[in-house]
């Protein structure tokens, strides 16, 4: 009787004792905004679109064959890898160094640690515009400083020159995302037990030896996790490229997602854009799976 009164006559799977009602909100969000778009793009990628007639025809292999033969795709893969590897390396090393500096109980360091998070709250598109202004060849503070130091000449603007444009975008990414690395590394460093370091100090280890023989191996899992999270993010890079260079000059900074965006928004070839986007997803999955296997990361 009591049980019946409590459930109000509802079937058991709709009562609060069953997991289903609790899982429903997030599951429905994931299905609508995660699973459905993926399946829809997969479905789209099997159609050949005719932009002139705005019609689609079911031809499963067409877009995928086109993808494999598309030089711009392979260029974009190369740019994406270059971008991800360089940005990740800089962020990792810089993040670790800053974290080591901030790993202190001394007065005032808490403020520094809090200040580190500031770049993270700036929207990436705004960061892109900020750097766009700073790179401006007539009034940009970065450009003007580099001209003054004779490192660069005004006839070769940073974002307008093929050899420097990607670096320009990477700097913005590094500025915004190094603090994220710092936070993860700091959390790891602060959680390390103190005793092994004391034992090492008594065993005769210098600070540098302690870092390489103890800190790095003890942090390896955390470092691997940080690399994974940031790495996946870097493969999806879109905002900075879109705002700062719009894939240019030429296609010098065209990453996979930027190319997908171009195909979608400029050529209105929705089915091929979906194919490029899916290719990005597959690439991320393969690279991260290999990485997880190599570094034996467990979640």
């Amino acid at each position: 009787m009591a049980a019946q009164a409590k459930s109000g006559g509802l079937p058991r799977w709709l009562t609060s004792e069953h997991p289903l009602p609790w899982l429903f909100p997030v599951t429905s969000l994931l299905i609508v905004f995660g699973l459905y778009p993926v399946l829809y793009s997969l479905w789209l990628s099997f159609y050949k679109r005719n932009p002139a007639t705005r019609t689609e025809k079911f031809l499963p292999s067409f877009n995928w064959n086109k993808l494999i033969g598309d030089d711009r795709v392979w260029d974009a893969v190369q740019v994406t890898f270059t971008y991800a590897v360089i940005a990740l390396s800089i962020q990792l090393v810089l993040g670790m160094l800053i974290a080591l500096l901030l790993d202190s109980d001394r007065k005032g360091f808490g403020v520094f640690r809090a200040l580190m998070t500031l770049p993270l709250v700036v929207p990436p598109a705004v960061t892109g515009m900020m750097f766009l202004l700073m790179y401006d060849s007539s009034f940009g503070v970065i450009s003007n400083s580099l001209y003054a130091l004779n490192l660069l000449s005004p006839d070769k603007p940073i974002l307008g020159t093929g050899s420097t444009a990607l670096w320009g975008v990477i700097v913005a990414d590094v500025w915004q995302w190094t603090p994220f690395m710092v936070l993860i590394m700091l959390a790891g460093l602060r959680a390390l037990p103190r005793e092994p370091f004391e034992a090492a100090s008594i065993d005769g280890a210098s600070s540098i030896q302690s870092f390489f023989f103890l800190t790095l191996p003890m942090m390896s899992k955390i470092i691997a996790l940080a690399v994974l999270v940031r790495g996946i993010d870097l493969f999806r890079i879109f905002d900075y490229v879109k705002v700062m260079t719009d894939s240019g000059p030429g296609t010098a900074t065209e990453t996979l997602t930027a190319y997908a965006g171009t195909v979608y928004f400029k050529s209105a070839n929705f089915s091929y854009a979906s194919t490029v986007a899916l290719a990005t997803l597959i690439l991320v999955l393969v690279v991260s799976t290999v990485f997880i296997k190599i570094f034996k990361i467990r979640f």
């Binding site: 034992a199 065993d203 005769g204 280890a205 030896q209």
Partner: protein, 363 residues
């Protein structure tokens, strides 16, 4: 090997002073135990000797060389930590060879030393395992192995046995003492376990609230505690302590607690009316079923009531109530006691300890 000298050593954290002007000399090759309750500053003192804790004032000397500003890596010491502090990502072999690897010592010599240490400590079969694959006792031995391959001037042990079970603790106690007898390296050992201190030390240093209260050989401290604190801290079961007033009856002084009248040694330096603590170790209380005929004093003590009897094998501990006080006596004779029975206790007057009621200092 080295002698260690500590002179006017102080440690202060902010406004809190944890060590008060300590002086201590540890002769070369001695095994010294720093003993005291939690928070008495013994580990801080050890860490200052190791160079892991900054010295507020005073000096630490190794062989008359002041080492205050010498980094711990240059002090040639070895330390065993309470929670072992092993390098979790290195095998037992690498853990033990780590200090030699840092010094770029020849690989062959490294292997020889590790083999020597592992054979002493019985770790031969575990050299290629990671610390997480070892039991507590084995980890403890690895930590010791890491220390002995160093061939250090001074060994420092910070409560190394407190994480082990009772049986293993006894076994490791013997192993550490045996190791010290073989290597004859100056050793400073911190513990709160008075049995460890008694069984292992050449010299025991008793600390309380950041001060050294008494130091000396274990038996010296056991026989002549200089304060009530030391008397109660050393010995298991602990010394019986009864708060008394000194009274005199027919020219004979006695220590009285309520209806209880305890005999005093003839040479006791007490005055009538003085408040004292009367201390007697359990083994110096003779327990009888009948009032003792040949008492060594003119006083007969009222009988107590047996509460609990604990036979340990070689001896029997009898806990009884005597004029409202809990009293323990130990006898090696096999007398069968049962709770509720009357017990006649007679102190051995040669082993009575008297402490001032105010200062708690031995009289």
């Amino acid at each position: 090997m080295a002698s260690v000298k500590i002179s006017k050593l102080e440690k202060q954290y902010g406004l809190l002073k944890v060590l008060h002007s300590l002086d201590l000399e540890i002769a070369d090759g001695k095994f010294v135990v720093l003993l005291g309750p939690s928070g008495c500053g013994k580990s801080t003192l050890l860490r200052m000797i190791a160079g892991l804790e900054k010295i507020t004032s005073g000096d630490v000397f190794f062989d008359d060389v002041r080492v205050n500003d010498v980094h711990s890596k240059d002090r040639n010491i070895a330390m065993v930590f309470q929670n072992y502090a092993l390098y979790a990502h290195m095998t037992v072999r690498k853990n033990m060879a780590f200090s030699m690897r840092l010094k770029n010592i020849d690989k062959k010599i490294q292997d020889e030393k590790v083999a020597w240490a592992s054979s002493i400590l019985g770790l031969d079969d575990y050299l290629d395992r990671l610390p997480k694959e070892l039991s507590g006792g084995q980890r403890q031995r690895v930590a010791m192995g890491r220390a002995i391959v160093r061939d250090p001037d001074v060994f420092l042990f910070d409560e190394p046995l407190s994480n082990l079970d009772a049986k293993l603790r006894v076994q490791m106690r013997t192993e550490i003492k045996d190791l010290h007898q073989r290597l004859k390296t100056t050793t400073v050992y911190v513990t709160h376990d008075q049995i460890e201190a008694m069984t292992m030390a050449d010299e025991v240093v008793i600390m309380q609230d950041g001060r050294i209260i008494q130091s000396g050989s274990p038996m010296e401290i056991y026989d002549n505690p200089n304060s009530l604190f030391v008397a109660q801290f050393i010995g298991s079961p602990g010394m019986n302590i009864i708060e008394c007033d000194v009274a005199e009856k027919a020219g004979v002084k006695s220590a009285n607690h309520e209806s209880l009248c305890l005999p005093l040694p003839s040479d006791a330096k007490v005055e009538v009316g003085q408040k004292i603590f009367y201390g007697i170790r359990p083994e110096h209380l003779t327990a009888n079923k009948e009032p003792s005929a040949e008492s060594n004093s003119s006083l007969t003590i009222e009988p107590g009531v047996v509460r609990v009897v604990e036979p340990t094998g070689p001896e029997t501990h009898v806990y009884s109530k005597l004029a409202g006080q809990d009293v323990c006596s130990i006898s090696r004779e096999r007398i069968t006691w049962s709770p509720g029975e009357a017990i006649h206790l007679q102190p051995d007057l040669q082993h009575v300890h008297l402490f001032d009621g105010q200062t708690q200092v031995a009289l």
